[in-house]
């Protein structure tokens, strides 16, 4: 468990119990970039409590601090004030698959295993098994440029699994894919995350995608970045992007999002 505490603040109603394995808890998190006149408050007083195994989607206008939030959880940035607790290892998946072009698909996955300390003899069979799990077993020896965008993201997904993390942060991982491939990746991510019991923080610009995937959709507002609305999505799975109920929930989220954007543009 990682606890970052830059300012001891008496939590209202004191929360004594530590975050569970796979859980994520932000309490009054503020993140300021820079200092003095150029300081930017990317996040202000954000509270978010994510249960182990929960799939949380995050939507919000551009620049409202979604990526910053994920960077904090992944440990790439430090919180300015407030408390961040993460129960276990965190993996991060980007908009681009960022596979290393000099390695094959299997070697890309194996590198994550190596950096995690997996013994040499076990790496290759494990990498192949992970690629099987994202249905890319036949492409293990291909190089990234020989794979389609969707396949590359599946290799990235296999690499996330290789990290054996309990929490996965995904920053618009499907933003660059066409609609068909994206729908397929929804099924894939949902299945893989379910099988592995992963906690997922999934940032997207697509409100419908947020409803399609999330147990909960968090709407963030901008200037400064904060949580303005939380939508519990208790729709049965499997869901589809075209489901009318998904569309309806997305509609109400979009209205809330518009309101926030209008407040800052208008």
């Amino acid at each position: 468990m990682t606890v970052t505490e830059n300012e001891a603040r008496p939590a209202p109603g004191a929360r004594p119990e530590p975050v569970a394995h796979g859980g994520v808890r932000l309490t009054g998190v503020t993140k300021v970039f820079g200092r003095g006149a150029t300081a930017t408050t990317a996040l202000q007083d954000v509270d978010l409590d994510v249960r182990p195994g929960e799939f949380v989607t995050i939507v919000g206008a551009s620049g409202c601090g979604k990526s910053t939030l994920l960077s904090l959880v992944a440990g790439l940035e430090q919180v300015t004030t407030g408390t961040l607790e993460v129960g276990g290892r965190v993996a991060l998946m980007f908009q681009e698959a960022t596979l290393l072009p000099w390695l094959t698909a299997a070697q890309n996955v194996a590198l994550a295993l190596k950096l995690r300390g997996v013994a040499r003899a076990e790496r290759t069979p494990q990498a192949h098994a992970l690629l099987e799990r994202v249905r890319l077993g036949a492409y293990a020896d291909k190089r990234p440029h020989e794979l389609s965008g969707g396949m590359r993201q599946r290799v990235a997904l296999a690499r996330v699994l290789a990290q054996d993390a309990s929490v996965v942060c995904m920053d618009e991982p499907l933003g660059a894919l066409d609609a068909m491939t994206r729908d397929h990746m929804h099924d894939e991510i949902e299945r893989v995350a379910g099988e592995a019991g992963l906690t997922v923080l999934f940032v997207t610009h697509n409100v419908r995608e947020a409803v399609r995937l999330g147990d909960r959709a968090v709407l963030m507002g901008s200037s400064p970045g904060r949580v303005v609305h939380t939508e519990h999505i208790d729709l049965p799975r499997p869901r589809r992007m075209e489901d009318p109920e998904v569309a309806r929930r997305a509609g109400s989220l979009t209205a809330a999002l518009r309101e926030d954007v209008a407040r800052h543009v208008g």
Partner: protein
């Protein structure tokens, strides 16, 4: 026609087909070069026939070819090639070691970059022959003077190759390394160095070209009697007005330089193809 024609397979066996495909690919890459050589020799012959210069100054291609044919039967010829190649490889190896260490230091440590970053580019533009007077003062007319200048000629290019390679590593790769939990050694080993490799190889290629030029300049200036080298043989050929031998040695020097370049460019093409980068 014999009757068994019909029973023969229409397609040649697979390995024969593959071999003939490889041969035709080889031919496609070779014929323009052969054509260029033929055209060059033809022009040369035409100039000789025009009588612009007497034959003992500008010999015909065939005369040079015969001289070369005689030379390859002399042990001194192979000794000269051996000496020159050994000097080139030793100097180049030192240049690789020094250029790589300096390049990594510059790319890693800000003060080092501030101190010598632009000096490296400056050295790269300096014709290496201007180092020889100093080298001869420092080391005398000997092998060390030559090696010194070969290293100074090649190392800046190698250092610059690795510096620009590391400077242009996509930040996404280093971020990925951090996310995957790589420490600074692993970050260099698995992310930074491989990403910088194409630029490094380009630097090695350029460094080799400078090493070869510096070496030839050095062998013409610093003649060590006991050790025949390509440069010293070239110089003797001039002293004895032996034009066919002079041109024959020039051809040898050109061919050796081209062979080395072929090795580097085929390596770099292979690497780029494996990474899905444009291959010219």
């Amino acid at each position: 026609m014999s009757v068994d024609t019909a029973t023969r397979p229409v397609e040649p066996p697979a390995d024969t087909a593959a071999r003939s495909r490889a041969l035709s690919a080889l031919w496609a890459g070779t014929w323009p070069k052969v054509g260029a050589v033929v055209a060059f020799v033809a022009i040369w012959q035409a100039v000789v026939l025009s009588g612009w210069r007497p034959e003992f100054v500008l010999p015909a291609p065939l005369t040079v070819a015969q001289t070369l044919g005689d030379l390859v039967r002399e042990p001194e010829f192979w000794q000269a090639i051996g000496t020159t190649l050994r000097r080139a490889l030793v100097g180049f190896a030192f240049a690789i070691a020094i250029g790589t260490v300096v390049g990594i230091a510059v790319s890693r440590f800000r003060p080092v970059r501030a101190a010598i970053g632009s000096l490296i580019t400056g050295l790269q533009t300096m014709p290496s022959i201007v180092w020889f007077p100093l080298a001869i003062l420092l080391f005398g007319l000997n092998e060390q003077a030559i090696t010194f200048v070969v290293i100074l000629g090649a190392a800046p290019s190698i250092a610059n190759g690795i510096i620009s390679g590391i400077d242009h590593v996509p930040p996404a790769f280093t971020r990925l390394g951090t996310v995957l939990g790589a420490g600074s050694v692993d970050l260099y080993r698995h992310f930074v160095i491989p990403a910088a490799l194409p630029s490094y190889v380009a630097g090695l290629n350029q460094g080799w070209a400078f090493a070869w030029r510096s070496l030839m300049a050095g062998e013409l200036l610093v003649i060590i009697e006991a050790k025949p080298s390509l440069g010293s043989r070239l110089s003797f050929a001039q002293d004895f007005n032996n034009a066919p031998e002079l041109i024959a040695y020039m051809v040898v020097i050109l061919v050796l330089g081209m062979l080395a370049d072929t090795v580097f460019s085929s390596q770099s093409r292979r690497m780029r193809r494996r990474r899905g980068l444009a291959v010219d």
